[in-house]
Symmetry: C2
Subunit: 202 residues, 2 copies
């Protein structure tokens, strides 16, 4: 029998290993299905089905379906933002941070799984205090990294600029999903303009 560390190995050796496997599969399936069907349309049964797991396991590994969705979305969003944050951190050149952000923007069409997961989670968070708090932490982290990058670029008032850029980013993703004509390339000069160091007359 092969090494049990293979991800998603149905024949994992110990019970604990198999359990972790099922958990992981459920979380992954939840991430997919939130994007595909929408937060409220993810049911225990389709979820278990997608994960290749019996539906009874959902409530063994998680307190509730909502708790599962919460954890799945939070972890997925954290992964995405960590990646973007890393791209920002490596930028030394002044405008490079904004360019990195713009490059990220091109990756999200508003209809891909990552975009949808974010939007779905934002909306769900408005009615789920626990998720709300988790997302607030993600916001703080990402905007902090963005503000730091802008500050290194000499922006006079990096915090509000970072907040505006982050909000515009999500707004653009949302609008791109509804209007595919909205190409990022035509907007790029304007987005750069937002972050320009000469800044607004404060």
């Amino acid at each position: 029998m092969t090494k049990a560390n293979d991800q998603f190995n149905a024949a994992a050796r110990t019970a604990a290993e198999r359990g972790r496997d099922a958990r992981t599969r459920l979380l992954a399936a939840a991430g997919e299905l939130i994007a595909e069907l929408g937060w409220n349309a993810v049911s225990t049964r389709v979820l278990a089905d997608r994960a290749g797991v019996r539906s009874g396991l959902v409530h063994y590994h998680f307190d509730s379906l909502q708790a599962l969705l919460r954890q799945a979305s939070t972890e997925a969003m954290t992964r995405v933002l960590d990646q973007s944050t890393a791209a920002l951190s490596t930028a030394d050149d002044p405008a490079e941070a904004v360019e990195a952000t713009l490059a990220e923007l091109d990756r999200y069409t508003g209809t891909d799984p990552e975009s949808l997961l974010f939007i779905e989670a934002y909306l769900a968070a408005l009615r789920d205090p626990e998720l709300h708090q988790a997302i607030a932490r993600l916001f703080t982290g990402f905007r902090g990294a963005l503000a730091a990058a802008l500050e290194r670029a000499g922006h006079p008032d990096p915090d509000p600029a970072a907040a505006l850029l982050a909000a515009s980013f999500d707004g653009l993703v949302l609008h791109k999903g509804l209007d595919p004509e909205l190409s990022a390339s035509r907007l790029a000069p304007l987005v750069r303009h937002i972050a320009e160091p000469e800044g607004p007359a404060k």
Copy 2:
């Protein structure tokens, strides 16, 4: 008996009038409940309850629950956007259009019924082609009005600027719902900056 034109008059005279009344009440209740509970959590029964109407009426006046929600959200959004568009149209002064937009932004906290209705509808539209099309039309109309205002203000490239402003607007509403600290006043100078006529080096 009083005049039957009173909105929501349960004792309206003719059957047709009563029918229109029930229809109106259902649409109004749908608008409220989409914001309160979320698009997918609006059921025929709570909807009829809120409207003060028996649940059987829902499928008499509308083809399906989704059709009702679609019409309710579309009409409500149209009303809001018509108002905003009017505010833009009356602006003659160059920067006045942006100021009008900023004033609108202050009205939407991201947690008020109007904000929530928009966000819910956007998300629902990603999985409902008919609603998608309706929203696309609203987008075209509002961005057109905004672009016209920017052009009157001498903006060199009004169309992309309007698209970016509209997306940023929605993004800010979305983020404000998740982060109440995000006051529009601190961001106002930056938003103005987006639309500044000297514009980006295109």
